[in-house]
Symmetry: C2
Subunit: 218 residues, 2 copies
């Protein structure tokens, strides 16, 4: 067999764009860098891929280590490999995106990871605060999420197990950043056949209580 060690090898990392919905906004989890390069700037959580784990396992491990959550929606985004993207040397980053639902979000808050914080994705000043090429990665992730919720049912991953149709609609409006027609939305979602009505309502509100639904299989 030919040898593999004739070539200098790059470092390979995974970086994860972790989205959640909070405070009526789309948020991304960022960690403040304590060391150079980009000390003090915000970065996507991530780390080196270990030699015996798959890329997806590496991303799942980082999710567990950095924010304490397991079993979340995780999807490979794109691989960023510009030779100058990390001033320390050649680092290729396989970017993933993850969706954290409302229940797991409490776990993230509780884990109180060092300098991790949720940031609004739509804050126009955020780009300037990011390290490396993480602005580019984040922009790509937002673009992908927007496309994805239009064609798939990935939006459910951002809510609790039980949710109302208005809550789901709000998720779409936040991500797409435009109003959505209530009747057409309900028709479309129900026609997809992916959610079922459960026999409960969200009570204790000062108006007509909403029916709860749940995603088939979660």
């Amino acid at each position: 067999m030919t040898k593999l060690n004739e070539y200098p090898r790059p470092s390979v990392t995974v970086d994860i764009v972790i989205f959640t919905i909070a405070e009526d906004d789309l948020k991304v989890l960022l960690v403040r860098r304590g060391v150079e390069p980009f000390k003090g700037r915000w970065a996507l959580p991530g780390g080196f891929v270990e030699i015996k784990e798959s890329l997806e396992q590496a991303a799942a491990r980082e999710l567990k280590e950095e924010v304490g959550v397991t079993n979340v929606y995780l999807e490979q985004l794109y691989t960023f490999g510009d030779p100058k993207r990390d001033p320390r040397g050649r680092v290729i980053s396989v970017a993933y995106f993850a969706l954290i639902d409302a229940e797991r979000q409490r776990i993230v808050a509780a884990s109180d990871a060092a300098d991790a914080e949720w940031h609004s994705v739509f804050n126009p000043k955020l780009g300037a605060k990011l390290a490396f090429d993480h602005k580019e990665i984040l922009d790509y992730a937002v673009w992908r999420l927007r496309n994805k919720i239009e064609w798939t049912t990935v939006g459910y991953e951002l809510l609790s197990k039980k949710f109302t149709l208005s809550e789901l609609q709000r998720v779409y409006e936040i991500i797409l950043q435009r109003p959505v027609d209530k009747r057409n939305f309900r028709k479309k979602i129900l026609a997809q056949g992916q959610i079922r009505e459960i026999n409960e309502t969200r009570s204790d509100v000062a108006h007509r209580p909403a029916r709860l639904y749940s995603f088939r299989e979660k």
Copy 2:
């Protein structure tokens, strides 16, 4: 600055799914492996990413070295990183797909690269002949190409600069593996506004000569 060399590093390669249309069929370029592992099996062209080049540059370089073509349509597909995908050790492969038009196809033929050959993508026995996880990569590339031609104008990349609408339609039929309605196809393509009629016809045929079109900007 923190050091990068605390972690063992994987090897990183690019593998390229190079498509073309020939003999009324969708073909992929494969090279026969002369060494272990998978000696004698067919593999996607590819090679190691050099330390100072980007991933896209690595893919473009491989295209030039292995098949002699430059300036072709090239798009990152997905990154395959299962730790067992290469028996020699940890090799992460960033897969690309490339589209070779009818003109460049002659260059590929002329380059006569060692053991490179065009194989029909739809040959059901092809999977068994492929090395590594290249069947999986190929399947994913075909899936992506199919989606892509439905939503974008990427199909033009597989034809000569000048082409007839029937030729373009045939490209769609071959890729999608189903018949396409002639009138609806022409309406859809013309409505996209991406091709213009040039004042020529394909003559010397034993029937009414077809008008030639060209893609805007190529």
